[in-house]
Structures are given as structure tokens and as C-alpha cells.
């Protein structure tokens, strides 16, 4: 999570207008959805990689990111390719395999274009985009709050896990469970103080106020 977030605000495109980046990445996404074909996949993946590379994001990170959905896609398309015909006899034909392949291609290509967008666009810009798209303001406010709180909770999580590790705790599920409970209770304890901060600053309405650079227009 932190890796993606840091990559986004350290990328060369971090200050570029989010609408311009969306105008490049989202058409690629829709293209791969509509044109479900290996050739389209190839084209989109190459384009997306170039965009990511141009944006100064490590290609290794990008490839590593793409490998994860690749595994999920394979697991997901198996039931499409094969179907049960009677008890314990598996059946597949040309059409169903064809469908599995196109689905896998479409999924991979659209993941590639979505990740290209995520890796070059800090989340704050996505919030701004939502505002431009006239999404309801309450929704945007909550999203902005959740974004900030996620990182605070994540910091806490890292600290609790570290504290347990240092005292010979064994890494694993129990440690995570203990951390979850502690984060929850300690956050509840802080609620009062946070509400005070909100009162002091006059409310919790999110008002977007950032300015961006452009790919083509020179800065004034």
C-alpha cells in the first residue's frame, strides 16, 4: 500500500493535471474491455508500460504488480474454460477455451492500464477528479477522511507489530489479530481529541484546493 502511494506522489507525473492522465489511461482501460483480443492486450500493455516508464516509476515495481493479478486471472478463468459434464468428468471445447483466453486478456490489459494510472496519480488527485465529476460532496469528504486515517492506522499497525516482534512475538496471524484489536481500542480512545481538533478548525467539509501542471501547457 505504502509502496503504491509513495510511487504515485514521487512519480514524474505527480503534479500533472489528473484529468490529463485520466484522459490517457481510461480510454486504454475501456479499449481493453471492449476489444477483448490478445492483440489489443499486447498493444495496451505496451502503451501502459511506456506511460509508466515515462512517468519515472520503476518498471520492476510495475511488473511485480502485474504478476499478482496474473495469478488471480488464471484461477478465475479455469471455471470458464472447463465445465463439469456429469460426475467428475471435465469438459472443455474450443469456444469455452476461447472465451477464457479473451477474458484473461481483457482482464490483464485493463489491470495494466488501471495500474499505470494508479502509479502516476496520487490519491489526492483522484479525490479532486471525483469532485470534478460532481460526485456527492459527503461521499468525497468521507473518502478524503478515510484516506488520511488509513495511513495513521497503518503507522500504528507497523508500530504494534514491531513492538511485538521486539518482545519475541512470533510473526503470524495471532500477532495481526492482537494488533487489530489494539488499533481499534486505541483509536476509540483518541476519538475525543480528534473531535476537538475538528471543532477547532471549524468543521470537516472537504474543499478541494489544489492546482496542477499540464503535459502540454507551459506553466504561467
Amino acid at each position: 500500500m505504502n509502496v503504491l502511494n509513495r510511487a504515485a506522489y514521487n512519480s514524474r507525473f505527480a503534479r500533472i493535471h489528473p484529468a490529463e492522465k485520466a484522459a490517457i489511461c481510461l480510454p486504454m482501460l475501456f479499449l481493453s474491455l471492449i476489444w477483448r483480443d490478445p492483440a489489443a492486450t499486447f498493444f495496451v500493455v505496451i502503451m501502459a508500460s511506456m506511460f509508466v516508464f515515462w512517468g519515472g516509476v520503476s518498471l520492476i515495481l510495475y511488473i511485480r504488480l502485474l504478476l499478482a493479478p496474473a495469478a488471480f486471472i488464471l484461477a478465475g478463468v479455469l471455471p470458464i474454460a472447463f465445465s463439469f459434464e456429469g460426475w467428475l468428468s471435465i469438459y472443455a471445447n474450443k469456444e469455452s477455451i476461447q472465451e477464457a483466453v479473451t477474458t484473461a486478456c481483457a482482464a490483464f490489459a485493463s489491470a495494466a492500464s488501471l495500474y499505470a494510472f494508479i502509479l502516476t496519480t496520487p490519491f489526492t488527485q483522484i479525490i479532486w477528479l471525483m469532485n470534478v465529476c460532481k460526485l456527492p460532496s459527503l461521499f468525497i469528504e468521507i473518502v478524503a477522511l478515510v484516506y488520511r486515517f488509513i495511513f495513521q492506522l497503518w503507522e500504528k499497525k507497523s508500530e504494534v507489530i514491531m513492538a511485538q516482534t521486539l518482545r519475541s512475538g512470533r510473526p503470524g496471524i495471532q500477532m495481526a489479530a492482537r494488533a487489530a484489536v489494539h488499533i481499534f481500542t486505541s483509536t476509540l480512545m483518541e476519538m475525543n481529541e480528534r473531535q476537538h481538533a475538528v471543532d477547532l478548525r471549524g468543521g470537516l467539509d472537504y474543499i478541494p484546493s489544489s492546482e496542477w501542471q499540464s503535459f502540454w501547457r507551459k506553466k504561467k
Binding site: R15, T124, I127, H196, A197, L200, G202, S209, S210
Partner: protein, 266 residues
């Protein structure tokens, strides 16, 4: 001028957090609030900023008593800015710039004037270069200054800072002292609590000493440190050295310089 008239504060569980606080805060002064943990410093600040309502007593500004009605509270907090101890509680916008602009925008300023105010505040606090970063990417000292900038952008008359130097390194403490003095020069009142009396001595005009919920003293340093203090409090090094040498140095550098001169003269 803020007046506290026999403020008492009792918690629901019966502990008396503040006992009969009577004092006046003149405008344009720099006040350091000293006292051990649990002596009521934070509670006092909560009352000053209207976050808590006193069990008895009243607080007033230029003779006008705070009524704790929403409108009045809003106006009050517009004039008193409070920087909490943990900046994480206070920074809630996705980027620093948006966070600093947050207060002015909530007050209904236009985006343009909010941006101008925010830019000026960020420059004063030395975090202008971090404006596009998210708060979680900042160091502790930077977060602290971002929180101060967020308050400064609203241009309040009084700054209330809760242990601002806790966890800062000496270089950042110096920046903080400079910032306090900048606010002072612009005619602002600054009230800050701290555990480090040497830090306070570098900038404070007046001292408030709290002990177990009572305001033991509120006076100039020459008076406060000449009399016996509650056991847990120290006398500043610079004050002691100044007294021995017959001068009034404020910073470490000056104090040691004077000491050296005095020693060689003799």
C-alpha cells in the same frame, strides 16, 4: 485581553482539574505555562479555546464573556488558534497545502485569499517546499510546523501551543523560537506549555506556574524564579547564571558568553 474569572473545572469522575483560576492575559505577550504532568495545563488550554465549559467561573475577551453558543464559539476560535500536542490529530486533509488552506476555507474565504494566507503561513513556518506532500510523508518536526501553519493561516490573535517543542531536535526548537518571535512581532499573543524551562526562558515574557490544578504564579521571570518553585520545576540555567553575574542573558550562548567574561574579569 483575556480574563479568567475563578475558573473551576471538575471532571465527571469528581477530580478537580482546575481550582479557582483567576488571571488576565494581556494581548501581545508571550506566556510560558509550566507545571508537571497532570497539573492542569491541557485542561486550562481546553478552557481557553472553548473546548470545555468551566464548572464555575467565566472567561471573557475585552470584557465580553464567552457564552458557549455556537456562533460565539466560532468567533472565539477564529481569534484563538490552538495547536495540539500530537500533530497527527490535527492534520486531516490529504495534502499539506490543502490542510493549511482548510481553516480559511471553512471560514468561508475565497479560494484565492485562502491560498494567499496559506502560502504566507507555510513560508513563515518553513514548510513551503512540502506543500504537495501528504501529511504521512513528513517527519515529526515538519508535521508540527504544518499544524502550526494550519492555525496561523486563519490569522488568529492568540496562539495556544501545547508542548510545541516535545520531540523536536535543537535545530527545530530554534526554528520554533524564531517562529514564536515572528508571531510576537506581528502583535500576536503566544501561550505555550512546556516541560523544558530552558526552552521557555529563551522567549517567554511571562510565566504561569500550575500545581495540582491551581495557578500558583503568573508573573515576569525575574519574580517567578526568585521565589521558591513547586518541587518538580527547575530554574533556568540562564537565569541562575545571569543572577550570579548580575546580568540577564536569555539564551545559552549569551549566558555562557557572559559567564566566561565574568570569570576572566575576576
Amino acid at each position: 485581553m483575556i480574563e479568567l474569572k475563578s475558573i473551576c473545572s471538575v471532571y465527571p469522575d469528581g477530580t478537580e482539574a482546575l481550582k479557582q483560576i483567576n488571571t488576565t492575559i494581556k494581548s501581545g505577550v508571550k506566556i510560558a505555562v509550566l507545571g508537571e504532568s497532570g497539573s492542569g495545563k491541557s485542561t486550562l488550554f481546553h478552557h481557553l479555546t472553548g473546548l470545555m465549559q468551566p464548572t464555575a467561573g467565566a472567561i471573557s475577551w475585552d470584557g465580553k464573556e464567552l457564552t458557549y453558543k455556537r456562533k460565539h464559539l466560532q468567533k472565539w476560535r477564529r481569534r484563538i488558534g490552538f495547536v495540539m500536542q500530537n500533530p497527527d490529530m490535527q492534520l486531516f486533509a490529504p495534502t499539506i497545502e490543502e490542510d493549511v488552506m482548510y481553516g480559511p476555507l471553512q471560514l468561508g474565504w475565497t479560494k484565492e485569499s485562502a491560498r494567499i494566507a496559506a502560502t504566507e503561513a507555510m513560508k513563515a513556518c518553513g514548510i513551503d517546499h512540502l506543500r504537495h506532500k501528504p501529511p504521512h510523508a513528513l517527519s515529526a518536526g515538519e508535521k508540527k510546523r504544518a499544524a502550526i501553519a494550519g492555525v496561523a493561516a486563519m490569522n488568529p490573535d492568540v496562539f495556544v501551543l501545547d508542548e510545541p517543542e516535545a520531540g523536536l531536535d535543537p535545530a527545530n526548537v530554534q526554528k520554533l523560537v524564531a517562529l514564536i518571535n515572528t508571531f510576537h512581532q506581528r502583535g500576536k499573543t503566544v501561550i505555550a506549555s512546556t516541560h523544558h524551562v530552558d526552552f521557555a526562558y529563551e522567549w517567554a515574557d511571562e510565566y504561569m506556574i500550575l500545581n495540582e490544578g491551581s495557578l500558583v504564579k503568573h508573573d515576569r521571570p525575574s519574580v517567578v524564579f526568585s521565589e521558591p518553585l513547586p518541587s518538580a520545576l527547575d530554574i533556568p540555567w540562564a537565569f541562575e547564571i545571569g543572577r550570579l553575574c548580575g546580568e540577564t542573558p536569555l539564551t545559552k550562548k549569551d549566558a555562557l558568553c557572559i559567564l566566561r567574561q565574568t570569570m576572566t574579569k575576576m
